[in-house]
Symmetry: C4
Subunit: 283 residues, 4 copies
């Protein structure tokens, strides 16, 4: 993928920043993660009026400190890469730029400081740290199982939407305006609040007929969840099994699905590794 842009210092920096095999690389990852969490915490706390009044200036200082550190870090990243352009256009590059842009822009355009969501995209930078901690590798199983159950889950969502649209429109027609079903989109909002079993209670049916129909949508939402869970469980089980068993079939009986450390077929006792000699044949 990415290659260090030279030898000596640039390679050394590349190892620290982009890899995590070395001690310095690991320390860098932990420091980066801490900085991201600190900066996200500051953005969140600064939104509380009471804290903003008392610690506003401190938060502002930390915000700038973090931004400057992130900017330096981005500079070093670009410096030690052979093809910085490709990096800047990659997912991680875009996130890196987005996480410092709002603060710099606020110098020139006061309103830009309001881009608080963009600043929170810094959270996404944690993905890189996770990946280095080989945790993201765990996601491959989830993604593989999701990919396999994609068709069924699309179908499931389609059925969910169908049920929600039809029932919500019925409620819109049945319920009096004071119940809150003032338009179909609002009824659909209620429908999803109900089907997903969130149930805020800001809009609730008040006529017996409306309550009866709501009961149907609730029972649907409550039990239909078995569909994606069942399909996904089955696919996780299949993916795990496929990962844990060899796919090569036994030359003796044709049985596939041997455990990864199997040397002889568990069913017919045939030597499985055709490239080497069976130790039993020496005797």
């Amino acid at each position: 993928m990415l290659e260090p842009g030279g030898v000596g210092l640039r390679t050394r920096l590349f190892q620290i920043i982009f890899e995590s095999d070395t001690k310095a690389g690991k320390a860098f990852d932990i420091a980066l993660a801490a900085l991201i969490v600190l900066s996200v915490a500051v953005v969140m706390l600064d939104s509380v009026a009471a804290y903003h009044e008392r610690y506003g200036l401190l938060f502002y200082g930390i915000e700038w400190l973090v931004t400057v550190l992130f900017t330096i870090e981005l500079g070093v990243r670009i410096y030690c890469l052979q093809t910085p352009g490709r990096y800047l256009k990659s997912f991680y590059g875009v996130i890196d730029v987005l996480s410092i842009l709002p603060t710099w822009l606020a110098l020139f355009f006061p309103g830009a400081h309001m881009l608080v969501v963009v600043r929170l995209l810094r959270t996404l930078r944690l993905i890189r740290v996770l990946e280095m901690m080989s945790l993201a590798g765990q996601g491959r199983l989830l993604l593989e199982a999701l990919r396999r159950s994609r068709g069924q889950i699309t179908l499931f969502l389609f059925v969910v939407f169908m049920v929600v649209i039809i029932f919500s429109t019925l409620l819109y027609m049945i319920e009096p305006p004071e119940a809150g079903f003032t338009s179909i989109p609002k009824s659909v909002y209620w429908g999803i609040v109900t089907l997903t079993t969130v149930g805020y209670g800001d809009i609730t049916p008040i006529t017996p007929m409306g309550q009866f129909l709501s009961v149907l949508i609730m029972l649907t939402g409550y039990s239909i969840i078995a569909l994606p869970v069942g399909v996904f469980s089955a696919e996780v089980i299949n993916t795990l099994r496929a990962e844990r068993y060899s796919d090569e079939s036994c030359p003796g009986c044709g049985h596939a699905r041997h455990e990864p450390d199997a040397r002889y077929c568990k069913l017919c006792g045939t030597w499985l590794n055709e490239e080497r000699r069976d130790p039993r044949q020496t005797s």
Copy 2:
């Protein structure tokens, strides 16, 4: 199933409208899906008072445009079929007629325009498009697993209703009227709102005894969901496994559907793997 009603133009139209193997057929499907989504969106937005005031006329125009297009489409469908009567009585035919009827009826009976739910049945027309995109085929697994777990799920729903009816009646008797448990049907509504974990909060117990009984119904609802999910997961796994059964028939007795790891036919004992030697023949 359905057959084109002749050759030339009618066969060509049949391929475009009823099939999706050709380029024109696929384009037709996509255009149809877009038209359906547009028309459903218009119905929904038109129900918002503010939008109706401002864009009412535009929505009315789109509604008529879509209806005329759907009517022409239905005409062509009938034209290019050998047995249009059978089509009109089929599921898709009924949906097709229902999705244009309310608008036409509104010309003669002003009240018919209120059949807004019927107009939203157009959403069901998307099933046809889904089927052509071979997505509905994915539903076969879900349906097969549902069919297998039908008995258990009926039983589960029966237990759920039993629990709800008994607890709801108890709450109706215990709680004072101001808590909202004014009749048994209303208590049952509360019971299902609670058991499905929707929890609107429009009716809540206020006596300690009522709250204690509610806790029991909540814990039931929270944990009993494991039953249908567990049964359905197991059946999805079984269905997936049955699909992976070998389809090659036994050279001895012709029986197909052997388990994936079978080496000998379970019915006549014949060696199944014709490419390899039967180990029994050494003797």
Copy 3:
């Protein structure tokens, strides 16, 4: 189990009432189910003030009609049994008596009419009908899987209670009285409303610390459900597999778990039915 008490009429009545193999037996079951549903519906509708006022007398009539019919039915049941005493002490017998008792008692004690819950126990009579429709047999799988996962589920409930008690007490100490956490039992009620994701909203935390602790209990409730579902799914899968496969091992290779219709071992081709002669040995 139960035996008819004689021949002729009593045996004939026994077949109709206690069995469902004959045409008359099936008709009786359906009529009984309809009567139960009717009587439960009447009890529920009678609790609605508006319906009680208008149809009260009709409901009262139906109630008596059903009670008389159930009483006659119970009489016939007792008449055609050899050991009526054993029946009256069985689960079904108790339910049969309980479902007619409140109405009769109301003749003498006006208050007894309030035993509305007891009258709704009639719903339990449906179990018998279900059993005859061989649906209850489906429950054996659920019960077997429940029995196997009993230990884990007890443990799960214990952990749930522990979490709820500790967090609820913390909330009780942190939150001001106006938030609704007025006593520990009430806080525990809130805790279960929250952990089971019902979330009425009748009691909600208002301090930041309380909201933070609530978030922890919510996340626990949201993800801990994976435990019983996972364990139960696994046990259903095991139970289904054990049911569908024979447990006898092959005399040739010792492989167990053959499909129920297997005649030869799928792994070594050995004849499985030791009591009969292998047809291959004729040649």
Copy 4:
């Protein structure tokens, strides 16, 4: 682990208190469990103002009785152990001390009586009783499956937090203050209330855009639960299967833990079923 500190009386007491094989040991466990439940019930009921007024003195008496009994029990535990220091520093020892400390401290510092949560930690003492009833042993399966799915579940929680933080901040920016989204932490509280499908309804979006975004977070929360459930189910199944691995070791190489359907050792190809003849030896 723990050893009795001598013979005679100390060993006898050790058997009663620390083990549960003897009749006296079992009786002690049951008495202890009853005492814990009683004492927790008293703490909870005492927090209800009405009960405190009427039974306050009785509760106070029970509290002291239980504390004295627990103190004596702790004394005996220490007396009959060889290394009481190690016990006091163990998990159970700390719980034992914590469950009597608040009441004793309240003698000297009146405020200490408020340490009501600490007193409820007595509930944790039930774990010991559970363990003796061999129920905690059931937990090993759950823990093993949790350990295996740890990586995926961490990832899942990370995704959940990411979704919540980004959507909550968007809602904070979109919604007017009167909707309740007054700061980002409060919005995050709302986000978790919504994603976990608790849905109190104390804070709800009121703008159409806010409601649309809420719908997205609800659908995410509703369907993403399939991930941990699926992974955990798969791991429970794997753990159960691993448990069913044959424990007999191979006569050739001594390897144990063969798959249940293995006929030949996967490592050395030796015939595993010593009671039957190896079919290969016919030649």
